[in-house]
């Protein structure tokens, strides 16, 4: 552990970790199992693997239909086309770029809403002002870091203003809201299987719905058989499906391990001033994939960006989420009418994700937390030395 400022890597000391600790990293299956399952797949083509994966996902999400697609961005684009949306779509600015880029490519105009300070997600209160002022065709909610947004409130708004409601559930595989699986809300929900997600297919995604007609049409679109204008084919390969099947076998174990990691973070930072965890809903089923924190610079002693610079030099590859908010990013910031989103701006300045992926074990987390305490305790001298250097 560090005992003096000079031992910090940013001041020339040795990095805390010998290995790089990224925020998330792919949960790889055992190599022997991988080889064993891919040999027959390559021999036969594995045509049935995609359906097998979809069926297992459908049972995990407890939803009637699941359609696997190339990636979640393609899934969101497909839904925008499938619902024949035109005009404007309400969505959060505090989200990953794909949430707004997909509707944009599908010909829609994103209208950004603010989010709740605690859940970091849309609520009825944050969306309604936008609904009143604009002719909104749809609401796209995001279950940020696996915590559901205000699904009841958004459904109410959809009803009241005649807008379709669907969700970006990229972070939310295996999570529930009031005991119901995410995947069952709105008209459909789009999940991501990107390599850094709790359940990976290297790249990939799926759309979950209970609407059989919608499912039939989306399947046609995915496979290039749809007559909906602009329908883009976005197939999921047997190779992705096989990887997904292996990941599904690992899923329960990873979920438990993730929970242990987040609980350790929570315990170790509980007495760290200005450093608070955006907690998963512990009472729900939760994948606990994201270790996300808010930093109040006055109390912690350093601002989020300076802290991140120090951590990265220690091989702790912390990430800022999301900087800047989408309403301040190209191409959305170019119409000269930047919306006023105070909570989004507040979060964009403070949120930091710390490592919790496959490459990070409990011992690493313990070390990271000790380092955070050291940085806080020495924040004044660190700030002074950073200014001097």
């Amino acid at each position: 552990m560090k005992s003096s400022l000079e031992e910090l890597a940013i001041f020339g000391g040795r990095a805390l970790s010998d290995k790089i600790l990224p925020v998330g990293q792919v949960n790889l299956p055992d190599w022997e199992k991988f080889q064993k399952s891919y040999r027959p797949l390559l021999r036969t083509g594995g045509a049935s693997k995609v359906e097998e994966f979809e069926e297992r996902m459908s049972s995990l999400l407890n939803v009637r239909h699941v359609l696997a697609v190339t990636n979640a961005t393609d899934g969101l684009m497909l839904v925008c086309k499938l619902l024949r949306l035109k005009g404007r779509i309400a969505l959060p600015s505090f989200t990953f770029a794909a949430t707004a880029q997909a509707p944009l490519w599908a010909g829609l105009e994103p209208v950004f809403c603010d989010v709740d300070k605690n859940t970091c997600a849309l609520t009825k209160q944050t969306v309604e002002p936008v609904m009143k002022e604009n002719d909104i065709a749809a609401i796209l909610g995001v279950h940020m870091w696996g915590n559901a947004c205000d699904v009841a409130g958004l459904a109410e708004l959809g009803e009241k203003y005649g807008a379709r409601v669907f969700y970006d559930a990229a972070h939310a595989v295996g999570c529930t809201h009031q005991g119901n699986n995410i995947g069952n809300f709105g008209e459909c929900e789009v999940f991501s299987f990107h390599a850094t997600k709790v359940l990976g297919t290297t790249e990939g995604g799926c759309i979950a719905t209970n609407d059989q007609e919608l499912f039939r049409e989306m399947k046609k679109m995915r496979d290039g058989d749809s007559c909906i204008p602009g329908a883009a084919p976005c197939a999921f390969s047997p190779a992705q499906a096989q990887f997904g099947l292996l990941s599904l076998d690992l899923f329960p174990e990873i979920k438990n391990l993730n929970r242990e990691k987040l609980l350790l973070y929570k315990k170790r930072i509980s007495d760290l001033p200005g450093f608070s965890m955006i907690e998963p809903k512990w009472e729900e089923e939760h994948n606990c994939q994201y270790a996300v924190f808010k930093i109040e610079k006055e109390e912690f002693g350093l601002d989020r960006d300076s802290l991140m610079d120090i951590l990265v030099r220690e091989h702790i590859h912390a990430r800022r989420y999301f900087v800047p908010g989408l309403h301040k990013s190209p191409p959305f910031n170019q119409n000269g009418k930047e919306p006023c989103l105070p909570v989004t701006d507040y979060l964009c300045e403070r949120v930091l994700q710390l490592p919790s992926g496959a490459n990070t074990n409990l011992e690493d987390i313990d070390k990271i937390c000790s380092l955070l305490h050291f940085i806080h305790e020495n924040s004044k001298s660190i700030k002074a030395k950073l200014r001097k250097d």
Binding site: Q25, V26, L28, W31, F34, Q35, Y38, R39, L42, R43, T44, G45, A47, T70, N71, A72, T73, D74, M77, A97, A98, Q101, A102, L104, W105, G107, H194, A195, G200, T201, T202, E203, G204, G224, P229, G230, A231, A232, P233, C234, A235, S237, P238, A239, Q240, F243, R319, R320, F322, V323, P324, S329, P330, P331, A358, N359
Partner: protein, 355 residues
Amino acid sequence: MPHISYPDTMGHSLKTDKFLYHIQKSFNRRQMTNAGPCVVELEHKLATMHKGVNCLVFANFFTGLFLTMRYMAKKDASGVFIPFPWGKTMEKAANMAGLKPFLPPIGANGDFMYNEDPAWPDETALVVCPRPAPALAEKYEKRAASAGIPILYYSAGCIGLENRRPLTPTASEIRNMGDSDPVNAWAGSYLLTKDQELASCLTKARAFGFAGWDNIEFAGLNAKLNELHAAMALASIDTLDARTSEARALWQNFAEKLEAVSGSRLLSVPEESPYPGVIVRLGSGNAIKMARLLQSENVAAYPTQMAVPGLLDHDDAQKCIILPFFLNSGDIESTLATLMKMDSQKSADDCNGEK
């Protein structure tokens, strides 16, 4: 009849070993996407195979196509001329990219411009078409260069044929890496271009437009090829020669046996071709019906229907069906038997009809 819906299984044991060899590199690095080791190697290998042009791989063909079209056309709502009336995929991609597609009308006889260079609308900012015959390509490229308009060729099984006409600075080419293409990545595509600025723009565009960790420069999306698919494409390239010679032998075998089906023949293939498909020109009968009948026997056949500028004229296109090329000897026999059965049934139907 065997199910031949996933044709690329020829030489599978060698290919499997190669696939596992490549994907192990990604396992060792624990990197399964975001320009992992297989994607980097694949792009390098394809660029070398194509004499050092820039090469970029994409997650699937359609995404690669519309993203490339959008950034080649440079501006929203630019006009895209598609000198190919059957270019529905290109038209769809232009719409997805927010561009305005223009397709020439099909003439009364189905002819339009096989060997001609049609008038380009004034709004044209980009020309997209299948790679035409060399003489026509030369015409297009000269005209495009003088007008400062880029051309995007859209092709699939052209590996080995690029020496017939190398790319010029204004002409780029996008190729499919679908599961029945010579470079098979299960799904994917690759762009070949000499335009450095375009390559650099699309490198960002395929990863959400990010330039660095946080900063988005412009609208992109997720068009990244994953490592599984890249490893498969590398395995395909490693085994391309073996695959081509086996396909050539099967093609010749098929051609000889097809003589028994009255009036039908295989369309000739250039010597350097990778034999990406078996195209049968039927002596008689309707290609669409024949393809449907073969499909009902689980042979993945489909009618060509579309003429290809300078390569396949409209009349021939209506009489041709494409068969899977990875037919082993047993499959060849049974496919031929089906063709003969259909052919004789058709003759009998014709006689009955006359009565």
